[in-house]
Every structure is written in C-alpha cells, then in structure tokens.
Symmetry: C2
Subunit: 322 residues, 2 copies
Amino acid sequence: MTATTTSDLIQRFRNHERPALARLVTYVENERPAGLRAMAELYRDTGSAYVVGITGPPGAGKSTLTNAVIREYRKRGKTVGVLAIDPSSSLTGGATLGDRIRMLENFDDDGVYIRSMATRGEMGGLSMAVGAVTHLLDAYGFDIIVVETVGVGQDEVDVAELADTTLLLQVPGLGDSIQTIKAGVLEIADILVVNKADIKGAENVVRDLRNMLRLGEHGPWLPPIVRTVAMHGENVPALLDAIDTHRAHLETSGEGQVRRERRARREVLRLAQNWIAGELEATMRDPANDAMLDDLLRREINPFEVAEVLARRTSLRIQSRT
Amino acid sequence: MTATTTSDLIQRFRNHERPALARLVTYVENERPAGLRAMAELYRDTGSAYVVGITGPPGAGKSTLTNAVIREYRKRGKTVGVLAIDPSSSLTGGATLGDRIRMLENFDDDGVYIRSMATRGEMGGLSMAVGAVTHLLDAYGFDIIVVETVGVGQDEVDVAELADTTLLLQVPGLGDSIQTIKAGVLEIADILVVNKADIKGAENVVRDLRNMLRLGEHGPWLPPIVRTVAMHGENVPALLDAIDTHRAHLETSGEGQVRRERRARREVLRLAQNWIAGELEATMRDPANDAMLDDLLRREINPFEVAEVLARRTSLRIQSRT
C-alpha cells in the first residue's frame, strides 16, 4: 500500500478499477490530503451524473425503496452509485451497516456501487464529505447517484441540497405520520412517496400530504405524490418516470441551473469554512495567546475582544500560507 | 422603546430591574449588536455564579427535577436563574414552552428567573447563545444557574461544557434505559440521578449505572448515584449536598480551574468562528467572485481552489476591519 501514489490511484480509478474507487472514497471521507488532491484532479470529469436524494423517517422503508430504485434503473440500462448515510446516533434507528452489506450482496453487478457513510455530528461535516464522494462517483461515470439519509435533524436538508431530485418518503402506521414532517422538510421534497401503500391508512397519508401541499407554498413545480410498495417493486417504474419528469422540468424551467449554482456556492463556502476553522484552531494552540487567555479568566478583557484578536491572527496565518 | 439606549438598559440591569434582564437576554439570544455590547460590558461582573447542567432523555422528569432543585436552593437562601433549552425538533418531545410558563407561575419570587430558549440546529449556535445568557445571569447576581436540556444529540455535550456540575438523569421504565446512554454521554456526568426512584425497576437502573461506572474510565471523581422522586421533592436535599461535594472537589483538585480555562477557550473559539463565518458569507456575496464561480460551474477550476481564494479574500476583509 505504501507504494501506491495518488496519481497511480487516480489512473486506476480512471481505468474503472473498483478498489481504486473504494480507496479514494475512504480517503475523501477521512479528509486525507490524497483524497482531496484526487478529488481536485477528478473534478473536471464530473457533471454528468444525476443525483437523487431519498429521505424520510426511520421505518419508512428507505433502504428497501433504494433497492427497488436501483433494480429499476438497472433495467433501464443506467449505472447507479449509492451513498447511504448511517446516523451515528443510536436514537435514530434505521438500517445498520450490516443491513447495507447484505443489501450490497444482492448486487453482484458492475453497474452498482453501494457505500455507507456515518454521520459525524459536526455542522457541514457530513454534507462536505457526502458532496465530495458524490463528485467521485460522478467522475467514475455513474449515471445516477442515490443519496439516502434518515430524516432526522439537519442532515436531511443538507443532503437535499446535494440532490437534483429529492424524494420524501412517508408511510402509514407511524402514528400521526404527517405530524412528523417538520417545518421546512416538506419544502425540500420534489416528489412525495407514500411507501407501503398496500397497508391500512395509506390513503389517509396521501390525503394529508395533499392538504399540506395545498396549504404550503410551492413554485411552478407541484410535488407529485407517488404510492409505492417498495418490497414488491410496485409502482417503482412510475416513481422513476416522475423523477424523469422532474428532471425535464429542472432543465426547461432553468431551475436546474439555479440549483447547480446554489450547490456550488454552498460547497465552496463549506470548504472555505472548514479550511479557516483549521487555521483558527491552529491559532488557538499558539502559546502566544496564553497571556490573553489568562487576562480573560481574570476578566480584564472580554470574550468578544479575545475572539476579535484570534480572528485577526487567523487571517494573518491564512495570508502567510502559499 | 426607541428611547432606550444600551447604556440605559445596562444601568437598569445593574439596578436589578427584571425587564432589563429579560430584554438583554432576548438581545443576546438574537445576536443583536446591543446584546453583544451589553454582554461585553457586563462580563467583568461575572464569575460568582455556579452553573448546574441537567440533562437526560425525554420523559426522565427534567422539568420536575429542575423545579424541585429551585425550591431546595431557595430554602437554602440561594437565588436561581434557569435556562431551559427547548429542542426545536418535534421528534425529541420534552416539555413545551407552555409547560415552562406554567412552571414559571409557580415562582412568583424575585430570587428565581426562568427562561426558555429554542435550539437552532446550527453547530455552536445553541451553546454560544446559552453561554452568553449564562454570563448575563451571572452578572445579574444569581448564585446558581441551572441549564436544562433534553439529552439528544450534541446539545447535551455542549451544555455540559458550560456547566460546573452536570447531572445526568435516568429513570426506570423507558425500556432498556441504560442502552439509551450513548457513548460519550456517561463521561459528561458528574452526578447520576435516578429519578422516579419509587417506581418498579429503579434498583435495576441503579445497578446498571453502577456497572457502567465500574467498566468505564473516570478520574479521581467517581460520580455518585443519587435516587430522587422529584415530584415529591424526595431526596433533593441529598442531591444538592452531592452538588456541593462535587463543587468542593473541583476546587480542591484544581479541576475547577481546568474546566474554567477550557470553557473560556471554547467560548472565544466559537465567537471567533462565528465572526469569521459572517465575514466569509459577506465575501461570498461580493460580485467580484461571480466570474470565479462561473469558472467553477464550467469545471475550469475546482472547488478547493475556489475555497482557497475565498479564504484569502475573507482574511483580507478581516484585516481591513477596525
């Protein structure tokens, strides 16, 4: 492994060697310099993949739907890369890495690549890594990239920002299911999927969603509601058709370009934030600040004054780097 | 209201006028410049309050315990300021603002101030505001500040960082309750409280906690396990004694000073991060970057190169500020 240089890896990646892809994803996920160099190098090969986000509450059947979506895309001759975000908190439930690996075994197929990533709990940490891995899968040549995440907290919104089309799953039988759609979450949905549509209460979920859509605001695109039974692949072709319709809408309306610009802005903002945060932490470690921190503890200076000095010292540090 | 200047407000705050405290807390919470100026001005008056953090899963009885703790501190002649963090997510449950207000009505007492704050979902956002409000309550002269938060996600760890003594509540009857203590959460606890100790299963919870403590690592302080029935105030005096014992330990061991230093470092780091993030966003909005962002969308430049330019431009912006 020591003999493998980054440029070797990139070459093997370009030759479509799967282990090179896997290793670069790991490097990017761990923010190793080699991963970032590779991503920078491979970025020019991106831009042809279509990103589908799948989100929804625990128990909505996201993994099963992802499976069904992969199969249907494969039938249509598309290659699919999947990023499944595993929440690190035990509270959120959802599929485990073990489930993922079992799922992976179902696709002994060069046209499918499935990868789990754990969330990290730091702001921007997840979406930065997910964004970078998305670029790798794009550069590798997958037609479709599916990013699947459990619908809890900020992650779902972050992931929706990465997707061209975001599916929001709901199911009957999760209690007052509609109440679980938090403010701001319905707005990220381009397509509403009522999964497990064969069980009791599905029509109530559809009706409630329709009412929420009627009350809420939306632009020229009215999110369709698609009923699926992912377990049996039922209506999954219709779901893919709805994704295609949304894709066509994005292009004809110009909204696709707007989203790509917004996404690029967010990505560079996060990368810059991350870089500056590293420099700020390095500044903090400089013993030159110790006297000032002692003054702070004696209340001879206030936290805002200290923060300002630290920000200035950080800016000098950034300037001095080449 | 227009006639009220910040220095008027600060004067009234120093005269112990409750409305001035409430207004400054609101200003700080909303990051209004007047709030930040006041906090900077009042910081020199801080340093005498003792901060008790209370955290635990939804349903553990945190509000009830907070109530009981307030009553017991009042009996002991101490004034108490309470910050109750309301999670904004509907998924986490817990007491609502309405419950808080009812609770507040129970304390028609100048020695008690209770304030709810909503979490905001941005990293550091909560703890920065909570930290700043803690300073205000400290400067106002409260002997004890209680920071209560639901034990879900990063917030509990952030809040523990602000506290001198952190209580972790557990209760019987939440299923396999001990399993809900996530990695890293037990370590933040200075005192373990088994609340609702009069119901079935309480002794199992105590035993499980004892085993976890035995297996885990801890320093010279072994967190005691205190059984309470907060609803009837049962054993709350013993809990306050345990807090006093921990407080004495912090001072004699030097750990109190270590924590104060760590806390001050974290606070200035977050303030600096926040300030730099604002400058970075301002940099992003500068139309001078538009051409570079166009190049990025055409893949003539990669996101890392753009982020680096943005970081440099931000550092120049910071330098040019006085």
